[in-house]
């Protein structure tokens, strides 16, 4: 693999992990606009443990992820009192506050950034992203995913059927935060440098964009959306300065034609219906 191709695929792997971190709470109807903050917690947490306490990477990365998940859990409890747009805005504010806190933390370099010594190669990143995808595929086949959909579709009915609505929401939010922290921790070890400015609101917002573009009805949507958003601007590189403008026009036109996103449940049904016909 050429260095360029590897670089693009690594970016893709990070985007896929971030996309699933957004997807999980969204599957329960919550828009998390602060995913970058949780990535920052994972990144700084793992970097700090390996740098200052000489922890091995395999121990520091999960702890970074857990720290992000725990923050999600603790913050999720009060924040999830809010609904809809209020919740989205609270997560947005949370993401901003978290990255601003790291920007001011002198123990991790403050605004100058924080070099990380331990290195995770591309293969580790690919394996991690594949692991996240497999975990999501597994979750999508459990009762948990079904209950998340129920909470999203109609919280009242879900509540009446005995689904612990509040608990499901907090669980989805914290799990998403953990996935984000996991991706962030690997990001720190792959690039060997973290700076708070990277984890800004645009990172959060664009990740949400991948997910909605890919479609939230099935578990495949975030994967397809992240792949599309990573690879297509690379293909458009020939048109150089116009590429993001062309890309933006494409997004607008596409969403106007297909507001449910690229991958929908109906698409899958179509495939399934065709398959038995072909065999009979």
């Amino acid at each position: 693999m050429s260095g360029y191709l590897t670089g693009v695929l690594v970016v893709l792997a990070f985007n896929v992990m971030a996309a699933y971190a957004v997807y999980l709470p969204l599957a329960a109807g919550q828009l998390n606009l602060g995913i970058a903050g949780f990535m920052a917690i994972g990144a700084y947490g793992s970097a700090f443990l390996t740098n200052e306490y000489m922890w091995p990477m395999w121990a520091a990365v999960p702890v970074g992820a857990l720290a992000a998940g725990l923050t999600g859990l603790l913050i999720g409890l009060p924040v999830l009192r809010t609904h809809g747009i209020y919740f989205a805005m609270a997560t947005f504010a949370l993401g901003q506050v978290i990255s601003a806190v790291f920007l001011n933390l002198e123990v991790v370099g403050g605004a100058a950034g924080y070099p990380v010594t331990d290195y995770a190669g591309p293969n580790v990143v690919f394996a991690a992203a594949a692991g996240v995808v497999l975990l999501m595929l597994y979750i999508s086949r459990t009762r948990f995913a079904l209950e998340l959909t129920a909470v999203k579709s109609d919280p009242t009915v879900a509540d009446l059927l005995g689904v612990p609505v509040r608990g499901m929401k907090v669980a989805a939010f914290a799990l998403g935060a953990m996935v984000a922290g996991f991706g962030g921790a690997l990001y720190a070890h792959h690039y060997n440098f973290v700076e708070a400015q990277h984890f800004n609101v645009l990172l959060s917002v664009f990740t949400v964009l991948y997910v909605l573009f890919g479609g939230t009805q099935t578990v495949w949507g975030p994967l397809v959306g992240a792949a599309f958003f990573t690879l297509v601007p690379e293909l458009l590189r020939a048109s150089d300065q116009w590429r993001y403008a062309v890309f933006a026009v494409f997004i607008i036109v596409f969403m106007a034609i297909r507001p449910q996103g690229l991958v929908t449940a109906a698409l899958f049904r179509q495939f399934r219906r065709r398959a038995p016909e072909a065999s009979s």
């Binding site: 809010t82 609904h83 805005m89 504010a93 506050v97 605004a111 933006a248 507001p259 449910q260």
Partner: protein, 290 residues
């Protein structure tokens, strides 16, 4: 010193206030978190700058920028808002973000990514009251912003058009049954909120004498924060929120440092959302938004 900072904060707050009111119109009535508004804010400032560079006088250039922003906003309505009716409520977010990216990159191609100096309109004209320095341009924009918001609030409260808008905000279905022409009202609202955002962009350019293709992001997001702090859907809440956010920003820069701005501003937002989600002046939400 403190008084001067308060004055500066209020001036900055006037800009946030206009952006917040633009957002609140889109959210309160249309239920649409319109991410193209930061783009329209930037387009206002950048286009006024471009037209003045082409030799247009300021007022004409400002009018041209406002008209262009209104037109772009109609495109946003047509391609981002209208096709999404009845779908998932988060979806228009994506397309309106698409418009933000598009606008930023069009300006980038046209003007380059550097910050450009916006010409000073009133060179060095300052009002001095007992040690306080207040620029006339800043004072004029504060008065103009407050005037526009007051007029808007009057229109919403007292006129037939305002009553129609409030009906749609209350319930779209009922408004339709009452014979309100929503298909005509919605584009008008888009034009109004675009004009407010673009005007804020022009005032920002005049006051701070700089424009860049990415000037909308920071201000736009603080405008959203201002709207929520004040109370979503409430015009005077947006005014209060805008001034508060402006004050918090200027005071924390001058007393603690520029790096803590995001902690104070968004910390304030987070606190408000947890303690009083409906905002300082908002009513408790009667139905789910977004």
């Amino acid at each position: 010193m403190v008084a001067q900072q308060i004055v500066n904060g209020l001036m900055l707050g006037a800009i946030y206030m206009l952006v917040a009111v633009a957002f609140t119109l889109a959210i309160g009535v249309l239920n649409f978190l319109n991410f193209s508004l930061p783009g329209l804010f930037m387009a206002g400032g950048m286009l006024a700058f471009g037209l003045m560079k082409a030799g247009w006088p300021f007022l004409l250039a400002a009018a041209g920028a406002l008209a262009a922003a209104a037109f772009i906003s109609l495109l946003v309505e047509r391609f981002a808002y209208r096709p999404m009716q009845g779908g998932d409520p988060e979806v228009p977010l994506v397309s309106s973000l698409g418009f933000l990216v598009l606008l930023e990159n069009l300006m980038l191609v046209q003007f380059g990514s550097d910050q450009q100096a916006f010409p000073a309109l009133l060179p060095d004209l300052n009002l001095r009251i007992g040690g306080l320095v207040i620029g006339y341009a800043q004072l004029a924009s504060l008065v103009l912003s407050l005037g526009i918001v007051a007029a808007l609030s009057f229109v919403l409260a007292k006129t037939a058009a305002g009553r129609r808008i409030r009906t749609v905000a209350e319930s779209r279905e009922t408004a339709l049954l009452m014979g309100i022409d929503i298909a005509r009202l919605v584009p008008q609202l888009f034009v109004a909120s675009a004009a407010l955002a673009a005007l804020a962009g022009i005032l920002f350019a005049v006051n701070y004498q700089q424009v860049s293709p990415f000037m909308g992001e920071g201000v736009g997001f603080k405008g959203v924060a201002a709207m929520i702090v004040g109370g979503m859907g409430s015009i005077w809440g947006a005014v209060l929120g805008g001034l508060l956010i402006g004050l918090a920003e200027v005071v924390s820069i001058s007393f603690i440092g520029a790096d803590v701005v995001n902690i104070t501003v968004y910390g304030l937002l987070l606190l408000i959302l947890i303690v009083r989600p409906q905002g300082l002046m908002g009513r408790a939400p009667s139905r789910e938004k977004l």
